[in-house]
């Protein structure tokens, strides 16, 4: 996830990382990890640095561009920290957003391909 500030709304953090930051911790499916106090403020703003440190997410800074990139969690050391499928919302070829959450109740085969 690309950021121009180390404070970001929880909804956007969820969309970009798959981790739902709540008062009790950061959750992905049934897996919840306690966070340091003050990681989430009353307005739903996530302080990225303590959350990233707790989940083992690298925070890479490009000073010239004024950007940070948050990498995926390394908690547990596997690409999938849990079997709960993260929800993604992406556009189709016409730009219309589609969310995989709309497919609850169906089996899904999600296939990655590319033009390259």
């Amino acid at each position: 996830m690309i950021l121009d500030s180390l404070e970001v709304l929880a909804d956007r953090f969820l969309e970009g990382t798959g981790w739902d930051v709540k008062e009790r911790g950061a959750c992905r499916g049934e897996l919840c990890v306690p966070l340091p106090e003050g990681s989430l403020d009353a307005d739903g703003v996530v302080r990225v640095e303590p959350v990233a440190a707790t989940l083992g997410m690298p925070l890479v800074h490009d000073a010239d561009a004024g950007l940070w990139a948050v990498g995926p969690a390394t908690l547990g050391g596997r690409a999938l920290p849990t079997a709960a499928a993260p929800q993604v919302t992406l556009p189709d070829r016409d730009g219309n957003p589609f969310s995989t959450s709309s497919l609850a109740g169906r089996k899904v085969v999600l296939v990655a391909w590319a033009s390259w």
Partner: protein, 235 residues
């Protein structure tokens, strides 16, 4: 390619979602989507977010998700049709293309008959299928993610963002860093190489040959890694 299987299995409660990992966006992916004319959701992922979330490192790759939105197969190479390259004679005298096609023939793909049979078995038997893994096993069998691989994802994202912003020299530096940190991530490599070598308005460059920008290129890197290691087998 997935359309026929989707049409067969959709009445049984299955949906196929195809995601183009394409930083070139609709400009790069739309013509392929239009040609396939899918009836299933066909999405475009410019930032490779799904690769990060699910652990894809090459294409085609897939995950299986059950009705409760629980993963039952982690990322794996997913081939539902035999590649025409596998049976074709390699033409001589085409220089780098000939050399590439020799490597392509050595690539070990998922057997489409085995793979499609496994999908059908899961659809029919659900959690009783031997191909549907328990949650702990899904996590255990997902790719290792050491800190360097997670950092590679962050570097790739910076590169992608800067490339899209037209800051290509800076973008290349981040792409190169991602390649160094996770050399077996073919998605990071093939994406960055093709962005650099595809002429504006042209079809995506699949040769991805040597340039001054990158330390590697498709042919040399596949030879170095071993073509047989290009895809993770479905087992």
């Amino acid at each position: 390619m997935w359309q026929a299987l989707r049409e067969e299995l959709h009445p049984a409660g299955v949906e196929v979602v195809t995601v183009a990992l394409d930083s070139g966006g609709a400009e790069a992916a739309a013509k392929w989507i239009d040609r396939a004319a899918p009836r299933h959701p066909s999405l475009i992922d410019e930032s490779h977010l799904t690769a990060e979330l699910f652990g894809f490192v090459n294409v085609p790759s897939a995950v299986w998700i059950d009705e409760t939105q629980t993963l039952v197969r982690p990322a794996h190479a997913a081939h539902v049709r035999r590649s025409s390259f596998e049976d074709a004679e390699v033409p001589e005298g085409l220089g780098r293309i000939t050399e590439m096609l020799r490597e392509v023939k050595k690539i070990r793909r998922t057997d489409p008959e085995v793979y499609v049979a496994a999908v059908r078995d899961w659809v029919q038997r659900g959690a009783d299928s031997p191909y549907a893994l328990a949650p702990d096993e899904v996590v255990e069998r997902s790719r290792p993610r050491p800190p360097g691989h997670a950092e590679a994802a962050a570097c790739f994202e910076l590169g992608r963002w800067l490339w899209d912003a037209g800051r290509r020299q800076e973008a290349v530096a981040w792409f190169r860093q991602a390649h160094r940190l996770q050399p077996d991530n073919w998605a990071y490599k093939r994406q960055a190489w093709s962005l650099a070598t595809t002429a504006p308005g042209e079809d995506t460059d699949l040769i991805q040959g040597p340039t001054d920008l990158y330390e590697g290129n498709w042919l040399d890197d596949v030879r170095a890694a071993g073509a047989e290691n290009y895809y993770e087998p479905f087992d």
